[in-house]
């Protein structure tokens, strides 16, 4: 994803695995594919990741344009500024999600020109036939972004699928409410299917959908098993790679291609472990990326960590799966695909609740950190505060404090920047912080 060089000389980012290296061309092909699909008149939908509708889209042969991905690509290529500026010229505040600003700026420009903006990264973002939003805990842009985009594309309809999940509360357990959550999600997904049938003129093939849901279950299990391999010392793969390998997980879920990709990744990691091949030969510090989306234009910072002997065997960001067989219900018994998706959704988002109940004053997010810290033999934790994202980034400070309170004091580093807006990033400052953190780790270890 960062193979392109900009006028300033920049070192090519290195990935530890071949699997990660494959991703750049895959994404480029996929984006090009959407532009081609537009030309061929195939149905195209703007879509968000982690909304539970991947299999439904695939089952109906709808071509998704993952708008967050496109913004990430613009960010990684360091060509997002002109789109952010266009959004600002439209009176969108620069404090809003920069994925959305990038996308809205792009759409405004494309609609004004009647064609792609000049030199649009990797061919540009294809105009959609429909937009699929989502109302959930995760983030407001999933409701508001496409609604705002309708200002430039008033003819494009939106379906907003409600996908809530229960928070961790002291006055009730999630199992007391899960039934009505599942019912709501199923109703919303039914509504989505009706919407898609209406706008494509095609009927849902329910058998095919069941197959794809089963395929994604197996893919979930495979990803979990592959990522668990990273517990090895030395670790064969770090978060820098994971920011690539997450692509099939969130952009291609429900496809054979995704399943095959993770099979290859699993095999590659197994090989590396057999040969004791780590991300770096002299692994000194094992870190967890404990929260925050990465700066897409600064993924090479992971190489910088590597150069100091630090690796990231595990991260919580984009780990959007769990092993299905670890759930406390037998999901295979739920044969209706929409119910299956709904139960999988609820069980995923409440996965760490039970653990939190067992430790006084704890919280599911902290339990996840603790489990990874112990399983992956972690020495320190790094968080990233991206200023424009109010979904993943509130609570990182609090989480760190709580972790230290209920578990143990552990060296921590908080980086500050953004996902896409490079003007918020200062390389020298970031590296200085990393250096200071490495010193702390050294002091604690020594």
């Amino acid at each position: 994803m960062t193979e392109e060089k900009k006028p300033e000389e920049r070192k090519k980012r290195r990935t530890a695995t071949e699997a990660a290296a494959k991703i750049g061309p895959m994404v480029k092909a996929s984006i090009g594919g959407t532009v081609q699909a537009r030309e061929e008149g195939k149905p195209i939908a703007y879509a968000f990741i982690v909304c539970g509708y991947d299999e439904i889209i695939r089952a109906m042969d709808i071509v998704p344009v993952w708008t967050e991905n496109y913004a990430g690509v613009c960010g990684a290529k360091r060509d997002a500024q002109r789109f952010l500026e266009r959004a600002e010229a439209e009176n969108f505040s620069r404090s809003l999600c920069t994925y959305a600003l990038c996308g809205l700026g792009f759409d405004a420009w494309r609609e004004e020109l009647g064609e792609m903006p000049p030199d649009a990264p990797w061919g540009g973002q294809a105009r959609p036939d429909m937009m699929l939003g989502s109302g959930q805990i995760l983030c407001d842009p999933r409701n508001k972004w496409y609604q705002a985009a309708q200002h430039y594309m008033p003819d494009v309809p939106i379906y907003d699928v409600g996908m809530p999940w229960p928070l961790y509360e002291n006055d009730y357990d999630y199992r007391e409410v899960q039934d009505y959550y599942v019912k709501y999600i199923v109703d919303e997904l039914k509504g989505l299917v009706k919407f898609l049938e209406k706008h494509t003129g095609k009927k849902m093939d329910w058998e095919r959908l069941s197959e794809l849901v089963d395929l994604s279950d197996r893919t979930w299990n495979l990803i979990w098993e592959a990522y668990e391999l990273r517990k090895a010392v030395p670790t064969p793969m770090g978060t820098g790679d994971a920011m690539n390998t997450m692509v099939p997980m969130v952009f291609m879920m429900g496809t054979q291609e995704a399943y095959d990709y993770y099979k290859d990744l699993y095999d590659e990691l197994k090989r590396k472990i057999a040969n004791k091949e780590g991300v770096i030969p002299d692994e000194k510090y094992r870190l967890i990326w404990g929260g925050g989306l990465p700066s897409w234009f600064a993924l090479s910072d992971f190489n910088y960590f590597n150069s100091k002997g630090a690796v990231f065997p595990v991260e919580t960001t984009y780990r959007m799966i769990e092993a299905i067989y670890n759930f406390d219900i037998d999901l295979s018994k739920i044969t209706d695909p929409l119910e299956h998706i709904a139960w999988r959704w609820i069980k995923f988002w409440t996965y760490w609740h039970d653990k939190a109940r067992k430790r006084h004053g704890s919280h599911p997010d902290v339990e996840q950190l603790i489990k990874y810290i112990e399983d992956y033999k972690i020495d320190g934790i790094v968080m990233h505060e991206a200023f424009s994202c109010r979904s993943w980034h509130p609570g990182l400070i609090w989480k760190l404090n709580l972790l230290k309170k209920v578990y143990r004091d552990i060296p921590s580093l908080v980086l500050e920047s953004d996902i896409v807006d490079i003007s918020s990033y200062n390389e020298a400052d970031t590296r200085a912080r990393i250096d200071a953190f490495i010193d702390t780790l050294e002091a604690v270890k020594g």
């Binding site: 505040s93 404090s95 809530p164 006055d171 009505y180 609090w398």
Partner: protein, 387 residues
């Protein structure tokens, strides 16, 4: 038993505005339980029905945010941060509980921070859905039932349908009083200034609903009785925004030579103009009002009809208010880091301008340290409206 305030009407409102939480502290001393809430999407009727005092948490535009930064990221809506800062600084020590709705990211994604930091005896998150379709309404009814059960558990007593219906009646009366007060803004000049009205609404959000009704009644009588103000002003302004919990901004507009006669704000018309229908199951009426009747940027209204009709559904009430209240210009006042309204600015602005009313869009930081910059912009806008 301590005496209730003998000050009435506008003076009473001023008293509760200047010392926010005064009445709640008195009631706490008398043994009542006070439940704090963020955002008008919390159905306070349930809190009233269980016999506790609903108390809306507010920030302080004049107080620099300091303590909050140790636990809450600065990328959160500044109003929410200020509220949290006030809580950490002890302004809300009298709270027995905290109820937070799924309003927006800044509120929803910081709920855990509030809960763990304040460590109150009771905390509950109302997972209000974003959509307004049938399944969303059904889901929301279940969510409210969960809240009702939870609150009953905390109170140690059931909330009967009868008690809930009574509370709904009271809160509807409260809303009707506010609407009546707004009617007094229609005249030229308005009988009550924006500054006075804002003070009254903010005072009201700190009082038990029955006392709020009484105060509002006194204010209406007082304002009707005193006659029209003598000040000559050039323009009638409507303020549209997410939340304004201080008079400073309203006063700034009025000191610059205009009347603030209308709004789509919270507290304000958006919060008070719609009432709860009387339904056999009171939960149904509550769900309908909060999810569908209130038109706030946090709610994703399902699109029916074409795009123009959609805009009418979302913003038509603003146009009607402009007509009903004789508004000359609109100030769109949005805080930085506000997601629900930040995304809507181009659409709201273009909708209102298309109908012929000028719009000044201001992005602000909540704190009144920016007042000099705001003053120039507002003055320039008023100069443009003149002639």
């Amino acid at each position: 038993m301590p005496e209730k305030a003998v000050v009435k009407g506008l003076a009473e409102a001023d008293r509760y505005y200047q010392d926010y939480g005064l009445r709640a502290r008195e009631l706490k001393k008398q043994g009542q339980k006070v439940i704090g809430y963020l955002c008008a999407f919390v159905p306070a009727e349930l809190i009233t029905a269980v016999g506790m005092v609903p108390f809306r948490i507010k920030g302080d535009v004049n107080e620099p945010i300091t303590k909050a930064d140790t636990e809450m990221e600065t990328i959160i809506c500044p109003l929410v941060r200020s509220c949290f800062d006030m809580a950490l600084k002890g302004n809300y020590e009298f709270l027995d509980g905290l109820v937070v709705p799924h309003a927006c990211d800044s509120i929803c994604r910081t709920y855990d921070i509030w809960k763990y930091s304040l460590n109150l005896p009771y905390a509950h998150f109302i997972n209000m859905p974003h959509g307004t379709g049938g399944p969303s309404l059904d889901f929301y009814k279940e969510v409210l039932k969960t809240f009702r059960t939870s609150l009953s558990g905390f109170a140690g007593k059931e909330i009967s349908d009868k008690a809930l219906a009574e509370a709904i009646k009271l809160h509807n009366q409260n809303r009707a009083k506010v609407k009546e007060l707004y009617e007094l803004r229609k005249s030229s000049p308005p009988l009550i200034s924006g500054e006075e009205l804002t003070k009254v609404l903010i005072a009201a959000m700190s009082l038990p609903v029955a006392e709020s009704i009484e105060m509002l009644g006194d204010v209406i009588a007082e304002v009707k009785g005193r006659g029209a103000p003598s000040a000559q002003k050039q323009a009638r302004i409507m303020v549209i925004g997410a939340q304004v919990d201080d008079v400073a901004f309203i006063k700034l507009i009025e000191d610059s030579g205009a009347w603030v006669v209308a709004d789509d704000l919270c507290p304000g018309a958006r919060e008070f103009f719609s009432s709860v229908d009387v339904t056999a199951d009171p939960i149904a009426g509550l769900a309908e009002r909060y999810l569908r009747k209130i038109k706030c940027g946090r709610t994703y209204r399902e699109m029916e009809g074409n795009y123009q009709e959609y805009l009418e559904d979302r913003f038509g009430h603003m146009r009607r208010m402009i007509d009903d209240f004789g508004v000359d210009g609109v100030v769109l006042y949005i805080y930085k880091y506000c997601d629900p309204y930040g995304f809507e600015v181009p659409q709201i602005k273009s909708y209102i301008e298309a109908k012929g009313t000028p719009v000044l869009y201001l992005e602000d930081e909540y704190s009144m340290s920016t007042i000099g910059r705001l003053r120039t912009r507002i003055q320039a806008f008023l100069e443009m409206l003149a002639k």
